[in-house]
C-alpha cells in the first residue's frame, strides 16, 4: 500500500485546488446563494457534509461497484445524503432553508461532489478520502463565505447582519442582484490568477 501524505491531501483543497476558483466546479451554488455571508456559509457547510459522507461511502464500496454503473451509483448515494442535509436544515434552521430554496437539493448535481467521488474517492482508501473531503469542503466553504461577505458588504453595508459601514455608505444594490454575482466571481478568479502567477509554478501539478 502506497504511503499517503495526508497533510498534502488536506492542504491542496485550501489553495492549490481551491474550488470554485482554481478548479471551476460548483459554480452554480457559488453564484446563486452568496447574496449574504450567512447564506454562503450555510451552503458551504451543507456541501461540506454531503462531500464528506459521499467520499467516505464511495471509498468504502469502491471495490464492489462495477465500473459500468458507478456514476449512477454515486449519484444515488449523493442524492441520499442531500436529502438528509435538506431535511436537517428544514427542521433546525427554517429561515436559512427557506432562503436557500431549491439550491440545497441542487447539491445533487454539484459537480464538485461527483468530481471528487470520480476523481479521488473511488481510487483511494477511506482515510485519504476523508482528508481530501475535509480540505476541499473547507476550501469551498471559505470561498462561499468570502463571496457572500463581499456582496453583503457592498450591497447592504453589513457582514453577517452586523452593520459595518455608516450612513454615508450608499449600498450598491447591483451587488445582491444576479449581475453582481457574476462580477464578483469574475474579479475573484482574476485575483486568484494574479496571486498564483506570482508564486513559483511548481505547485500547479496535475
Amino acid at each position: 500500500m502506497a504511503e499517503y501524505n495526508l497533510w498534502h491531501e488536506f492542504k491542496k483543497g485550501l489553495w492549490q485546488e481551491i474550488p470554485p476558483f482554481r478548479i471551476a466546479l460548483g459554480m452554480c451554488p457559488a453564484l446563486a446563494v452568496t447574496n449574504s455571508a450567512t447564506n454562503g456559509i450555510a451552503m458551504g457547510l451543507a456541501t461540506f457534509f454531503v462531500l464528506l459522507c459521499a467520499n467516505i461511502s464511495v471509498s468504502a464500496i469502491r471495490k464492489i461497484v462495477p465500473s459500468q454503473v458507478r456514476i449512477a451509483t454515486y449519484v444515488v448515494i449523493i442524492a441520499l445524503y442531500v436529502t438528509v442535509a435538506d431535511m436537517f436544515l428544514a427542521a433546525m434552521f427554517p429561515p436559512i432553508s427557506k432562503a436557500l430554496g431549491p439550491y440545497v437539493p441542487l447539491i445533487v448535481v454539484n459537480c464538485i461532489i461527483l468530481g471528487r467521488a470520480e476523481g479521488f474517492a473511488q481510487k483511494h482508501p477511506i482515510v485519504p478520502s476523508i482528508m481530501d473531503a475535509l480540505g476541499i469542503g473547507i476550501g469551498f466553504t471559505l470561498s462561499l463565505a468570502l463571496m457572500g461577505s463581499i456582496r453583503e458588504l457592498l450591497g447592504f453595508g453589513s457582514i453577517l447582519d452586523i452593520k459595518l459601514l455608516g450612513n454615508w455608505f450608499e449600498p450598491w444594490i447591483i451587488m445582491i442582484l444576479p449581475a453582481g454575482a457574476f462580477f464578483v466571481f469574475g474579479f475573484l478568479v482574476a485575483i486568484v490568477n494574479y496571486l498564483s502567477s506570482k508564486k513559483p509554478a511548481e505547485t500547479h501539478g496535475h
Binding site: A79, V109, N110, F182
Partner: protein, 191 residues
Amino acid sequence: MDVILIFISASIVNNIVLSYFLGICPFVGVSNKTESALNMGLATTFVMTLTAAITWPVWTYVLVKFNIPFLQYVAFIIVIAALVQFVEMFIRKSSPHLYRALGIYLPLITTNCAVLGLALFMVLRDYNYIESIFFGFGTGVGFTIAILMMSGIREELEYADVPPVFQGISITLIIAGMMALAFMGFAGLIR
C-alpha cells in the same frame, strides 16, 4: 394566455442561466463556438421539455399519491439520467446525422443543474401538466438564447486584447454579468 406568460417568463424575463445561475458549467464550458453552443442548446431544450413531461406525472401520481415526497431528489435524478440515456439511444438509432452533431453533449446534460432545477421549480410553483411542459420548453429556449449570445460574444473576443489574468473563466463571467444586467431590462414585461 397563462401558458404564454409562463413561456416568456421562463425563456427571457427569468432566464435560468442569468437570473437563477443554473447550467453555468455548460454555459461557460461549451460557449466558445457558435455551432457547438447551438447544438448544446437544442439538445438541452429537447431533454428539458421531456423532463418536464415525465417528472410531473412521477411527482403527482407516484410521489404525492403514495406520500413519499422525501424521495423526490433521488427519483428525479434517476428519471433524468434514464431519460438522457434513452434519448441518446433513440437518436443514435433514428438519426445518425443528428447523433454525430449532438453526440458528446448528450451525456453532459445529466449533470446540467438546470435540468434538475427545472423539475424542482416546477414542483415548487405548483404548475399543472400543460404549464409544466411550456415551462420546460421555455426554460430550454432561454438556455439556448443565453449560450448562443455568449458564444457570439466570445468569438468576437478572440480578437480582443484581454489582460492575461482575466483570460478564460474570469472574462466570461464578467460578460455574463453584463448580459444579466441587460436582461434585467425585461423585468417590466411581466409583473
